[in-house]
């Protein structure tokens, strides 16, 4: 938007175009710098380190890739996780991010810039957010001209929702996927506007990159068909639409099937069916248009009735086959995450493991304000602006925002998809508003001077000024036209005519009084300033914590809680390299990446039974838990405990999920046993099952001796069972603030013959079979 305003009026047109191009290039560079640097708060406030959980896995994969090369990577069977099952990393991971960072690292090292893999990983996300804001510029420019493009790019560069997933160190799939998403949309719109097969091919490649990067690619492959369908239904079918869509489906599906993690899913699962259905429809429509062209109207009518009757029959058959196919698969061919998108209550009903992840919960209203801030108010204005006039491109962004608003309402995580749409809409709204206000100010000023009738030149300028705001994008427009081919020009002309007419009409109608426009401009600038302040605050305070290092500001200065790394470092240096560590799955990725130890379960929650086993062990009494762990070859058990310093996301607070997930597979674990009157508590009112389970014991072992009472600062209560000894586990490490406690399984005691016999006599066959049931691995 700045570009629009800062264009000096009155200079010769060509000169102004050149100047405008350079200026907008400069602004784009600055936006890139802004997008990059606003994400560096985490490095400055904390350190250059990988954040959270998933990024650690990606980092580890990237390390493997850079060390062993691409072929080893595809064939990588990871035996350090999901013990004893292992995991085929090459075939189950979206490789886009890893390959991107690996390539960057390789290129840098090839030209002798010896950056470490970690550094490259840390800064991949900020670099790609700069790319994403440029892609937003391109996309919005295709929709509403470069003024709106620049505004949208600037908004996207600092939208908090996107910052939350792409601060330096947040090395996750979303970091590159959002760029890929926007860029794919841009190429689609570009193809739609130009009808160029070149862009259609690029579009398929961009889609391929998106498929490589993130599971969210299904959003693209559903949104674009929906838009195509919308265009067809509203009578906007054109050969350009065909070129934009058909190659994407064919090439895109072929390319997507190349990615091991997608493979045949690209043609087998329901997520992709919409695209094939629309693919058929667009061919039918194309055929109809063709036939319409060669037949006389009368003949055409006959043909229509004939085809419709046959077509209906064929369609019915196809639909029946499809329904049968879909129905034959257990989840109806939809993956759990996708299903919970369609039915928001699906996950909490059937899959506790999906529901247990906080980012799969529906968002609250404040989180909208937190994540997209004033954009939420600008979006409706943007939608209105898109309807005047409605072009193919603007109908696409309208569809995009509508769909993403729905999806973000289902899952917090998908707020990320909403953010670019909101930025594009707000960019359009802001740009249009600025157009109107500055235009009317100029008009008013010039008409005033006209009234004075003193200055002749001003009258000469008047018409130009009036139009100048609209001319900002002329330079780009001209360049674009030059590139495009002659044939395409002809098609475009009719579409353009009415739009231009209506634009002119609108402009004339929207001349506002001078004072009103000035006030409105000031208000808009204030709104923008508020947005910037909020974004910087969010980037600096809310989203920069790496979550493996915690800090707290107390009266005697900054206090650092580095317990996680302390204990991972201990594990990595002071246990045997092949020891197995059991912990709740949250800490699996970190343990394999930072401590380099084999874990039982990790954040890639692909095997529910395995996770349930660990959950069962954690919620069983000591002896049963020891047996389960021993059968899994586990040597160390790691628990996270926040009771000493008041760290709320610890294992005791997650414990109910362990019980639920464990109980889902092994029915002898009942949630009710751990709840007193439906309430989850750990004080003296807690149930005996709760007070005797392994998790409770490992967390609170000798906890009472710290303050004499055993006051838990997270639950704000005194613990129920204070003095107890461990019989099957021994403490081997506890971190400085007690946040991580590591226990070792005691070796099996020598059996005394008499005792064993006695036990055998005591236990009846029924009881023993029950005990077998308790341990799923024996």
């Amino acid at each position: 938007m700045a570009a629009v305003e800062s264009l000096p009026p009155g200079t010769p047109s060509a000169m102004r175009n050149a100047f405008g191009t350079v200026l907008s290039a400069l602004i784009l560079v600055l936006i890139g710098v802004l997008a990059f640097s606003i994400r560096l708060f985490s490095v400055i406030k904390y350190e250059s380190v990988i954040h959270e959980f998933d990024p650690y896995f990606n980092y580890r994969v990237t390390q493997f890739l850079s060390k062993n090369g691409i072929y080893e990577f595809w064939n990588w069977f990871d035996d350090r996780t999901w013990y004893p099952l292992g995991r085929v990393i090459g075939g189950t991971v979206y490789p886009g991010l890893t390959l991107t960072a690996g390539t960057i690292w390789w290129v840098l090292n090839a030209i002798n810039i010896p950056l470490s893999v970690e550094t490259v990983c840390v800064f991949t996300a900020p670099v790609f957010s700069a790319f994403a804001s440029w892609a937003t510029y391109l996309l919005t420019k295709e929709v509403k001209g470069s003024g709106a493009g620049l505004a949208a790019a600037a908004l996207l560069a600092m939208v908090p929702s996107y910052i939350s997933r792409s601060v330096a160190g947040s090395y996750d799939n979303e970091a590159v996927a959002i760029f890929a998403l926007i860029f794919t949309f841009y190429l689609y719109i570009k193809t739609l506007n130009t009808g160029s097969l070149f862009y259609a091919t690029l579009n398929a490649i961009a889609y391929f990159y998106m498929v490589c990067s993130w599971g969210g690619y299904t959003f693209i492959i559903n949104l674009i068909p929906m838009h195509v369908l919308l265009c067809i239904v509203t009578g906007r079918y054109s050969p350009r639409l065909y070129i934009a869509y058909a190659p994407l489906v064919v090439l895109g599906t072929l390319l997507a099937a190349l990615v091991p993690v997608v493979g045949f899913n690209a043609v087998l699962t329901s997520e992709h069916f919409a695209s094939f259905l629309v693919f058929i429809i667009i061919h039918v429509v194309a055929l109809v248009y063709y036939i319409k062209g060669i037949l006389t109207p009368k003949m055409f009518k006959v043909a229509v009735t004939l085809v419709v009757s046959i077509g209906l029959v064929v369609c019915l058959i196809v639909v029946a086959v499809l329904v049968a196919l879909v129905a034959s698969s257990p989840t109806g061919g939809w993956s759990g995450r996708s299903l919970s998108l369609l039915d928001p209550t699906y996950a909490s009903k059937y899959i506790p493991i999906i529901a247990s992840v906080s980012e799969h919960q529906p968002p609250t209203w404040p989180s909208y304000f937190m994540d997209i801030n004033v954009l939420a108010f600008l979006v409706p204005a943007g939608i209105i602006a898109c309807f005047s006039p409605l072009s193919d491109a603007s109908s696409f962004v309208v569809l995009y925002i509508v769909m993403s608003v729905y999806f973000s309402g289902v899952m917090v995580r998908l707020m990320l998809v909403l953010a670019p749409a909101a930025c594009i809409m707000s960019g359009i709204a802001l740009s249009q508003a600025f157009d109107v206000f500055t235009g009317s100010i100029k008009y008013q000023l010039s008409s005033k001077s006209k009234d004075d009738a003193e200055d002749n030149t001003s009258t000469k300028n008047a018409p130009k000024d009036d139009a100048s705001s609209g001319k900002a994008d002329k330079g780009e427009e001209v360049a674009k036209e030059r590139l495009s081919k002659k044939g395409k020009k002809k098609e475009r002309e009719p579409a353009e005519k009415p739009s231009v007419k209506s634009k002119i009409v609108k402009k004339k109608a929207l001349v506002l009084p001078l004072e009103a426009s000035i006030v409105a401009l000031l208000l808009l600038i204030m709104l923008g300033a508020f947005y910037v302040i909020h974004c910087v605050w969010a980037a600096a305070e809310a989203y920069s914590a790496p979550s493996i290092v915690l800090t707290s500001q107390s009266h005697d200065g900054l206090h650092v809680f580095d317990d996680f790394r302390e204990s991972y470092a201990w594990l990595s240096h002071n246990t045997d390299v092949d020891d197995k560590v059991a912990s709740w799955w949250d800490y699996g990725y970190q343990t394999t990446a930072m401590a380099n130890r084999t874990v039982i379960v990790d954040n890639n929650t692909w095997n529910n039974t395995h996770i349930a086993t660990v959950g069962t062990a954690m919620s069983s009494p000591e002896k049963a838990a020891w047996e389960i762990f021993n059968s899994l070859d586990v040597k160390y058990v790691l628990v996270v405990f926040g009771g000493v310093i008041g760290y709320p996301s610890d294992d005791i607070n997650k414990f109910l999920w362990m019980v639920r997930i464990g109980g889902g597979e092994f029915p002898h674990i009942k949630e009710a046993d751990y709840l007193r009157d439906g309430q989850y508590r750990i004080d003296s009112e807690a149930t005996p099952t709760m007070l005797n389970c392994l998790m409770y014991k490992l967390c609170y072992y000798r906890f009472v001796e710290t303050d004499g009472k055993g006051y838990d600062r997270v639950r704000r209560t005194e613990i129920g069972k204070k003095h107890f000894k461990l019989t099957h586990f021994e403490e081997v490490f506890t971190s400085h603030h007690w946040m991580v406690r590591i226990y070792k399984l005691k070796p099996q005691k020598n059996r005394i013959r008499g005792r064993v016999k006695k036990l055998k006599q005591k236990t009846t066959s029924g009881v023993s079979s029950k005990s077998v049931k308790k341990n799923p691995w024996m």
Binding site: I113, K486, K490, V549, S567, A569, F733, T734
Partner: protein, 616 residues
């Protein structure tokens, strides 16, 4: 216990060997006085000996033999012998003497021999005082070998109360300095005294060759038994003013191993903290003016460190991520920058780097030390001088924007103690021109980039110059240029219209008909010229097939403009006539009202059309 028993066996063997030994090979010299001081306050046993050597034989002697029991000799990390002259206060130490490991024939394996070459042959009856400093690692054996967190850390030292020597010793004494007065046990021989934390043996008089009296001292040690299993120090010289030192430590606690639980509760117990055998921190004494210090490991920054610096030194107190108990290991990296001017000097056309060899950590034993000195790209004639023997090799390292790579001198040494912290010198030749190569490379790179951009935007890269698309593009450019011109002319016309209107307003104010007519005349001629200019442009525009969409619009524009022009002229004429007839203002206004409306409508249309063309 295994280790201990093996040591005991060693001792027995040694004794056996000594009794068997009866060779007069070294008998010419007599040690008139031997003072030995063993300092075991740290994990290193540091032995200082003052030997007064007298030549009682007839021939002059140029070599002196030092002996150690094998179990000590194997752990010898550092040995330096210097001789001092003069007596009393005027005593001064002279240069170090060269020491070589010797393997004299017929000697038992249980004794290590070192031969010292004397500064000048010792003739009959002459005396010489030798100062011997030896440092041993791994000779303080933890006993018991495994302790729990609550236990204190006890270690054991084995030595001989009598000085083991191939020469006759007339008088000798030994003092052992312990870290504190808590002594678990010690061998009681005659003349044994305990003074606080010091045990004294002797003096013993007139000892025969190879006298040996084994003693064992068992005492508490609170010292950090920090051993770097491997330490890689990388010293990178940048002629832009910095020496960057990066040190990678693989640290292990070599004291008694921890057995049983580690309880954080007891470790942090305020009134009586337990786990004293663990060490919490290490002190690194860095050179003064060290800057940009960092302390991290594989998984990120370690926040537990403190730094104090003044003009003489920089002290860095680092705490590992977790307290190190016996047998626990850790890994970390520290790095710091040093000002180049403090370490790089020039001599005889060469430059040399003068920097200390060992680790800056206090009381740290390094089992394997690798020092890599990375010199700037383009350094030549590299040579190294070290005060002791090290293994040398050369490598090439590629760093920021290198083409030829930087030469690296790799120095390796095993079993390094703080006594090895002496300066080494790396000599090399380097021309300052090389400094500019990388900036120049960058400048060239960007220059080429911009040039390419310029060429790309200016030049025509179409593959086929005759293709329809290409021709269409060329034509389209022409169309656009023509359109631009048409627009300019129309703008000029409109400006002329405005002038005319202005003249009318002037007329209404001043009533000066003549000026108004003059204005009319000039405008007429101007407009005529403009329409002449317009004609060929329109013709050319029509000739372009690609402009078929636009040309009707342009024609419409021109027609409207002409119409507007006519209307305006008519209005002008009417007004002027009205004035000439001296009719009232209202009358004139009434007459031109309809015209005025048409003019406004036309003007509007022209503006719209102009804008539309502008959009193209």
């Amino acid at each position: 216990m295994k280790k201990n028993s093996s040591v005991v066996v060693d001792l027995l063997l040694l004794l056996l060997a000594i009794t068997v030994l009866a060779t007069p090979a070294f008998s010419d010299l007599v040690l008139s006085k031997v003072e030995r001081r063993i300092d075991v306050t740290s994990q290193i046993a540091r032995v200082t000996k003052t030997l007064k050597v007298v030549n009682s034989g007839s021939e002059s002697v140029s070599e002196f033999t030092l002996t150690f029991p094998k179990f000590l000799g194997n752990n010898l990390a550092y040995l330096s012998v210097s001789h001092s002259e003069g007596k009393g206060k005027a005593k001064r130490s002279l240069a170090n003497l060269s020491v070589k490991e010797a393997h004299p024939k017929g000697m038992p394996d249980s004794i290590s021999f070192y031969s010292v070459s004397l500064p000048k042959p010792l003739s009959k009856g002459d005396t010489l005082t030798l100062e011997v400093v030896a440092a041993f690692t791994n000779v303080l054996q933890p006993f018991p070998e495994k302790i729990t967190q609550r236990d204190i850390h006890l270690v054991m030292l084995q030595e001989s109360a009598q000085y083991l020597s191939p020469y006759v010793v007339e008088s000798q004494s030994l003092s052992i300095k312990l870290p504190n007065a808590r002594i678990e046990s010690y061998s009681k021989l005659e003349n044994t005294k305990v003074q606080g934390s010091e045990i004294k043996y002797g003096p013993y008089k007139n000892l025969a060759q190879y006298s040996y009296a084994p003693i064992v001292v068992h005492f508490e040690s609170k010292a950090a038994f920090a051993v770097a299993e491997k330490l890689v120090r990388e010293i990178e010289v940048s002629h832009w003013g910095n020496v960057q030192v990066t040190e990678h430590y693989n640290l292990v606690h070599r004291g008694a191993q921890l057995k049983g639980e580690f309880s954080r509760l007891e470790y942090q117990d305020r009134p009586n903290p337990q786990g004293v055998s663990a060490f919490r921190h290490l002190l690194a004494r860095l050179p003064p003016r060290a800057h940009s210090i960092y302390y991290r490991d594989d998984i990120g920054n370690i926040s537990t460190s403190q730094m104090q610096s003044d003009s003489k030194k920089t002290e860095l107190l680092i705490e590992p991520r977790f307290p190190l108990f016996g047998g626990w290991k850790t890994f970390f990296t520290i790095g710091y920058g040093l000002p180049l001017s403090d370490f790089l000097f020039a001599s005889e056309g060469k430059r040399f780097l003068d920097i200390s060899f060992g680790s800056p950590m206090i009381d740290l034993v390094t089992e394997k030390l690798i020092v890599q000195v990375v010199l700037p790209e383009g350094s030549k004639d590299i040579s190294v001088t070290t005060p002791f023997a090290v293994k040398q090799s050369h490598e090439i390292k590629y760093s920021h924007l290198d083409i030829a790579g930087r030469p690296v001198v790799v120095l390796e040494k095993n079993n390094v103690v703080p006594d090895h912290n002496q300066k080494i010198q790396v000599y090399y030749k380097f021309s300052n021109i090389n400094l500019l190569s990388e900036p120049l490379m960058l400048i060239t790179g960007f220059f080429v980039l911009f040039i390419t951009c310029i060429i790309y935007t200016r030049a025509d890269f179409s593959i086929s110059k005759s293709s329809a698309a290409y021709l269409a593009k060329l034509q389209w450019d022409e169309v656009l240029a023509t359109l631009q011109e048409v627009q300019n002319i129309i703008q000029k016309c409109l400006a002329a219209h405005d002038k005319l209107e202005a003249s009318l307003r002037d007329l209404s104010r001043t009533g000066d008909i003549q000026t108004c007519k003059a204005a009319r005349k000039s405008t007429d001629s101007l407009l005529k010229d403009l329409s002449k200019e317009l004609r060929p442009l329109l013709a050319s525009l029509q000739s372009f097939p690609s402009a078929s969409q636009i040309s009707p619009k342009v024609e419409e524009l021109v027609a409207k403009e002409r119409e507007l022009q006519e209307k305006l002229m008519a209005k002008h004429t009417t007004v002027v006539e009205g004035y000439e007839k001296k009719s009232s203002g209202r009358d004139i206004e009434n007459r031109i009202a309809s015209q005025q409306q048409k003019i406004i409508a036309l003007r509007q249309e022209v503006d719209d059309l102009l804008e539309f063309i502008d959009e193209i």
